[in-house]
C-alpha cells in the first residue's frame, strides 16, 4: 500500500526538468552564482564506525574566475594542525593543480599533489581531495534518471559519469533542486558499489546566496561519517586572485 502511495505521489509531482536537458541543468548547478569570492569558517566532525570521533576547524577562502576557481583551505584547530592546508587551482579544460602544506613537516614549502591523489581522504575524513575542486560540466556525461521528492523538495535525479576513467568516482547520482540549483543529496559510486552519500541537511540564504550550512557524508564502505558545519560565511569580500598563492598556503598567521 505504502509503495503504491509513493508511486502516486511521484506521479503527482511536476516533472521538474522535463523541459530541461540534464546537461544544461548541471551546467547551471556547476556555474551557479556563489559570490565573486567567499571566506568561511567550517567545522568537520569525523565519526568512525566504532564511534570514536575527531574534530577539525578550517578556514576556507574561495574565489571565482572566468574559467575556474581557486580555493585555499587552512586548518585552525586542533592546535598541532594549525596552519596546515591545501591550495587548489581549478581551470576549465586544464588539469587541476593541488598543493599540500603540513605545518609540522620540516620542509616549509608547498608540496605538489599528484592527480591520482585526488581520490584520497582529506586528513582522514570522508571528504576526498577531489571534493574541494570545482566541476567542469563538459567533463561528465549527464543523464536525467527521474524526478523525485527529497526531504520535501521536488528534485531532479541526475546521474553523472566522468569522461576520464581516472576520475575518483565511477559515477555520481545527485538529487538536484532546480529552483535553488543545489545538490540536496549525492551518491558516489566506485566499482559499481555505493561508496558514500552526501546529504545537505541545512540550507540558508546568506547575502543572497543559497548556502549549504550543514551537511553529512556517510561512508557506506567504511561505516564512518563526516559532519560539515559552516559556522560563518561571508561573500564578496573583495579577495584578490594573488591571495591564493604559496605565500598564503604556507603562512603561519592567516
Amino acid at each position: 500500500m505504502k509503495s503504491v502511495l509513493s508511486v502516486l505521489l511521484m506521479l503527482a509531482l511536476p516533472a521538474v526538468v522535463s523541459a530541461q536537458d540534464a546537461q544544461a541543468l548541471m551546467d547551471k548547478v556547476n556555474n551557479r552564482y556563489v559570490g565573486d569570492d567567499a571566506l568561511s569558517e567550517v567545522t568537520l566532525e569525523y565519526t568512525s564506525k566504532s564511534g570514536s570521533s575527531k574534530q577539525y576547524q578550517l578556514r576556507i577562502w574561495n574565489i571565482e574566475e572566468n574559467a575556474g576557481n581557486k580555493t585555499l583551505l587552512k586548518y585552525t584547530a586542533p592546535n598541532f594542525m594549525r596552519g596546515s592546508g591545501v591550495l587548489v587551482h581549478s581551470q576549465d579544460k586544464q588539469e587541476t593543480l593541488q598543493w599540500l602544506y603540513l605545518s609540522q613537516a620540516a620542509k616549509k614549502e608547498a608540496r605538489k599533489i599528484a592527480g591520482s591523489e585526488r581520490g584520497r581522504p582529506l586528513f582522514g575524513t570522508d571528504i576526498f581531495y577531489v571534493d574541494i575542486e570545482s566541476k567542469a560540466t563538459e567533463d561528465f556525461a549527464y543523464q536525467h534518471l527521474r524526478d523525485e521528492e527529497f526531504d520535501g523538495t521536488a528534485a531532479a535525479v541526475i546521474q553523472a559519469i566522468p569522461h576520464k576513467p581516472d576520475y575518483p568516482y565511477a559515477r555520481t547520482i545527485s538529487w538536484v533542486d532546480p529552483e535553488r540549483l543545489l545538490e540536496l543529496k549525492v551518491e558516489y559510486y566506485q566499482d559499481g558499489k555505493l561508496l558514500k552519500t552526501l546529504i545537505a541537511e541545512q540550507i540558508e540564504q546568506i547575502e543572497g546566496v543559497w548556502t549549504v550550512t550543514r551537511s553529512t557524508v556517510v561512508n557506506a564502505k567504511q561505516g564512518s561519517s563526516t559532519l560539515m558545519k559552516v559556522d560563518k560565511i561571508n561573500y564578496n569580500l573583495g579577495l584578490q586572485v594573488e591571495q591564493f598563492s604559496f605565500k598564503a598556503l604556507t603562512a603561519k598567521e592567516f
Binding site: 570514536s52 605538489k112 581516472d166
Partner: protein
Amino acid sequence: MRKGLLALLLSTPLLANAGWNHTGTVNLRMDARKAGESALLSRVAVETSSELAERLTLQVEVEGNGETSVEGASAELRTLLLDWQVHDAVHLFAGWQQQVWGRADEVNPLDFAFAEDTRWYYLEPRAQRKLSRLSAGTRIEWGDSSLALFYFPESSRNRLADDDSIWCERACEFADPDFQRDQFAALGFVVHTSKASAPRHEWAGRFTSRVGGLDFGAAAYYGTDHRQRVERTFVTSGVVALETKEYQSLSYGLDAAYALGDVVARAELARYQDVKLYIDPELPRYLADDDGLTETDATAAILSLDYTAPGDIYLNVQYQDVWLGEPENEVILPRELNLATFQIAKTFYEPEVKIEWTTLYDIGKEGGFSKLEARWQMDMQWLLSVGCLAFDGEDSAEDYGAFRKNNSVYLATQYQF
C-alpha cells in the same frame, strides 16, 4: 645541552606575558635487535611561538632525547628565531633554526646548508635529524615566489654517533680524530692531534617559484662541508700530526616538480665544488698519500616519481646518481655512486592503519636497507607503530652491510598535542 637550557631560560619570562601557542610530540620507542640487545629511545619536542609585538614573532623549539644503550640523555635547542615582518612581503630573521631543502623524499642533494644528527640514522625521518644553526637573514615572499638569504656567523658540522654506538660504522669512526690517533699509535707512531679553528662567515640562498604547472627552485651555499675531516699535516719517521679541519666550499643546484597526469615527477640537480674526500678510510692506503685527502668536484641528481594507485596505495620510486670529477690525486673510490629507493604504502581507514614498506638500495656498494612499518592512528593524538628494520650487503658496504647486526623489530608510540 647549553643551547637547550638557554632557550628554556629565555622563554620562561616571556611565556608569562605573551599569548603562546604550544604544540609538541612525545615519542617512545623500544627496539629489540638481532644482536640480542634492546634499547629504549625517547624524544620530547615542544614548539611554541608568540607575537611579541606587532609583526614581531618569536619561535622556540626545544627537544630532549634519551637513549638507554649508549648515547644517554641530551637536550637541545632546535629553534629560537625572531622574525620581524618589516613589510607585507619582507621578513628579517635572526636566531637558531634548521631547514630541509629539496623536493625528493629523504634523499636531497640540494639539502646542503644545514647539518644532520647521524646518531640514529635510520630510525628517524631525515627532517627530524636536522641540526639547528645560528643565522640571520631575510625572506621575501610574493605570490608563489619566495627568496630567502642566510648569513651564518659560524660553521656547523654533522653530529656523529658515539664510537661505541651501534650506528657508528667505519666511516663514522674514521671521522673521529681519537680513532685515527689510536690506529696510528697501534702502528708505533707518536701521534700529535690538534684542531684547526673553524671557518666563519658562511652564506646561503634559497629561491622557489612556479610557472604554470612547474614548481621550481634554486639554492646555493658557501660554507663548510658538514663532514669534518682529519688531515695528516706532518709525517716523519715514527711521528704523525693529525689536525681536525672543516673546509669551506661552494654548492649550488636546482629542483623542480611537475605533474604528469596522475604522476608527480620531482627532480634535484646539485653541484659541489672542491669537495675533500679521504683517499680511502683504510690506514695503510691512507698513508700512501701526503695528507690522506684529495679534492674534487661532484655532481648529484635525483629523479623521484609519486603515484597513488586505486585503493589508496601510494607508490614512490627514486633514483640518484652522483658523479665525482677528476680528483687531484689517484683515488681509491668509485667515481660514480647510484642509489635507488622504493616506497609503497597502503592506508586502511577502519581502523586507520597505514602499512608502509621502504627500501633503499645502494647499487654501487651492493647494500641496502628495508623498513616495514604499520602505524595505527588510535585517535587524533595517539599513534602506535610496530615495525622492523633489515640491512643487507657485505660488511664493507658502509651504512648497510656493516649494520646487519642492527636488524631489529620495534614498538613505538607518539603523542601529539
